[in-house]
């Protein structure tokens, strides 16, 4: 698993050092930048999960950097937390209006810093998970492919099954199955992801993983598997 990178942009070296230690304690990888004009260049070099950006910097201010990042389509979605020595309502309003997700008042309080950054990272991970489910469902729905009625199940394992089909399907392809076996097990249209596809003399043997089954559904599959094994043995 790749490390979670947090970019901190602050011209103040003392604040950068403090942020570095707190981020290390959180188990993430700090990327420190004391020159705000190199923000985009730095983002191009590493995958960053959160940006912590100082509000008050001479020359290019934190707001300038914030606007620049938000204008860049590649990096606009990276959550930005502003660091500010001033918690006045004007400051906060400015940062939020420009697209910052939150702000942290200096000096950095490790507990507040950790809580706010973790909240954003966890929300990001949740989004990623939801995006993935949505993507898989969308792919399966658009495909409108229910191949099981036209194929034969060869074997069924705890979380996988092998079937014979007359058509090749791309590895990674996900589809809903309406095979009779799932009707019998009262599992409604489970999603199957193709792991491997091998050509044989009379078609293809396809190995699939069952995606998103509940614990109850898995129990049913396991029971079916046991029954199948004992039936074969007898």
């Amino acid at each position: 698993m790749s490390p979670i990178n947090i970019l901190v942009i602050d011209d103040n070296k003392n604040d950068l050092l403090m942020a570095k230690f707190v981020i290390m304690r959180m188990g993430y990888n700090p990327i420190l930048l004391d020159n705000p004009s190199k923000a985009i260049e730095t983002l191009q070099g590493s995958a960053v999960s959160v940006i912590v950006l100082d509000y008050d910097m001479p020359g290019m201010t934190g707001l300038d950097v914030l606007k620049k990042i938000k204008r860049n389509t590649t990096f606009a979605k990276i959550p930005i937390v502003m660091l500010t020595g001033n918690s006045s309502s004007d400051h906060v309003r400015n940062t939020v209006q420009q697209g910052a997700m939150d702000y942290i008042v200096k000096p950095i309080d490790p507990t507040i810093f950790e809580t706010k950054i973790n909240k954003i990272i966890n929300a990001g991970l949740q989004h990623k998970k939801e995006d993935w489910i949505e993507f898989e469902l969308d792919k399966a729905t658009k495909a409108e492919l229910k191949i099981f009625n036209y194929s034969r199940i060869i074997s069924i394992g705890e979380v996988s099954l092998t079937l014979a089909a007359n058509q090749d399907y791309p590895v990674g392809f996900t589809f809903f199955s309406d095979a009779q076996i799932f009707h019998d097990l009262e599992i409604k249209n489970p999603a199957l992801k193709i792991e491997a596809s091998t050509k044989t003399s009379d078609g293809y043997v396809i190995r699939c993983t069952m995606v998103g089954l509940s614990e109850v559904e898995l129990k049913k599959v396991r029971l079916y598997q046991k029954l199948l094994v004992s039936k074969k043995a007898s």
Partner: protein
């Protein structure tokens, strides 16, 4: 307000404040233990270097009557001192920043406060060096 009254007032204002907050120091020591790094030592080393640069620049800016620069440095020093829990310097820097912003014509008061910061910084640096020696 006369200059004399301001001086006595300003001393009274900061007298009750601690030079540094022991809880903040303990917090830095704990972070160091958690990540297996000498956090306090590194923070202090950087502070010794940057504080000398800042107060030197602040003094020079004051001599040149460059008050915006003095305010900018006070803001920076406020952040640095807050990070280490240097309460007295932290409050003084905040006051200096506000004084310049609100009443830039009060040159005497500004000079007095800068001098107080320079003096307090000397005292604090000595205490921090002692603390660093004890921690080592």
């Amino acid at each position: 307000m006369t200059k004399k009254k301001f001086q006595s007032g300003i001393k009274l204002k900061y007298e009750h404040l601690l030079s540094f907050d022991r809880n903040k120091v303990d917090e830095l020591i704990q972070i160091g233990k958690d990540i297996n790094e000498d956090v306090l030592d590194q923070m202090l080393d950087l502070h010794f270097k940057t504080s000398i640069d800042i107060v030197t620049e602040m003094n020079a800016a004051l001599q040149n009557s460059d008050l915006p620069k003095v305010a900018e440095l006070a803001h920076k020093f406020k952040s640095n001192t807050g990070q280490l829990g240097l309460l007295k310097l932290n409050v003084m820097c905040g006051d200096l920043e506000n004084l310049i912003k609100d009443t830039p014509n009060c040159k005497d008061e500004i000079c007095e406060l800068v001098n107080l910061i320079l003096h307090e910084n000397q005292l604090t640096l000595s205490k921090l060096k002692l603390l660093q020696g004890q921690a080592a």
